[in-house]
Subunit: 151 residues, 2 copies
DNA sequence: CGCGATTAAGTCGTGCACAACTAAAGCGTG
DNA sequence: CACGCTTTAGTTGTGCACGACTTAATCGCG
């Protein structure tokens, strides 16, 4: 991994010079790799991310979920309805603030956690990075996300 | 950037431990950053990627475009129709192989290249990576993409 | 208390992204 | 030449993703 083998001038319009395309392609490739694993759970990738948050902290509002995943309510509301229809969670208005909706796992949703435990392992194997590369990639991606969100 | 500050056990189900989520979030954040710039050109982000390919090599088949962008014809066909409707390209059956459709830029499409030249610069600035970080990120993302596509 | 501003969730419309499938063209081997 | 296989685009259906908007509840300030 020697950097800057033949990096061209900044502002190139060549597709393969663009970090943004590498990012876009990698994200879709990883999601595609998840698909067969998540199919067995009956989840899509964004639904899986929602479940990850709920396994971490149950009874959370749509707003908090959106903050964790950086998604709008207009994306989450229909997604949560589908998860509810599939019996994985319930949505109930908060009594103390009826604008807010609490998302709670059902027993089925909570139990899915065990079946999902092997998923990150499989994906980690498939990505095939060393622990250092994995940590470095995460750091760079978070740096990009933070910088791009800031300006 | 010291790696492995407090990396947990492999196979964690914590959202913030997952490289896949960092990838997904970064990709959406970068696309969001493109949006106002591309709005001025009347393009979406995937449409912009198609234009990048065409500025590089005009008169290309849908299949070749799909190979370059790793997208299915079921994604590209409607997208190309919209670009055609907007006057940026034309689609014509190849005479020597009528299964194939050649995508050619119109003058309007070709001329957009100059207006687009500033876009990668703006995005590069917004990402705020050093040249070494940029090159390293690209390498890691390509490694992930290749590994994940392989297995 | 009253009322304008804010906040939370949701709806609607557009455009990807992909699986499954279709239609049509070209190819290859007996 | 014939017929089955492959290749190329395109269609259809589902599910994100997001901007613009709506509705309802809450807040805050006079």
């Amino acid at each position: 991994m020697s950097p800057a083998a033949a990096e061209p001038a900044e502002g190139s319009l060549l597709l393969d010079d663009q970090l943004c395309f590498a990012l876009y392609a990698a994200s879709r490739a990883v999601t595609a790799r998840y698909r067969p694993l998540l199919d067995e759970l009956g989840l899509t990738y964004p639904q899986y991310l929602v479940m990850l948050v709920l396994w971490e902290q149950d009874s959370i509002s749509v707003r908090e979920l959106g903050a964790a995943l950086q998604l709008e309510s207009s994306t989450l509301s229909p997604l949560l309805k589908r998860l509810e229809a599939n019996g994985l969670l319930r949505r109930e208005r908060r009594l103390d603030d009826e604008r807010s909706v609490a998302i709670r796992l059902t027993d089925t949703g909570a139990r899915m956690r065990e079946r999902a435990a092997s998923v990150p392992v499989s994906i980690g194997d498939a990505m095939g990075l060393t622990p250092d590369q994995d940590a470095l990639a995460k750091q760079l991606l978070r740096l990009i996300t933070a910088n791009v969100a800031a300006g």
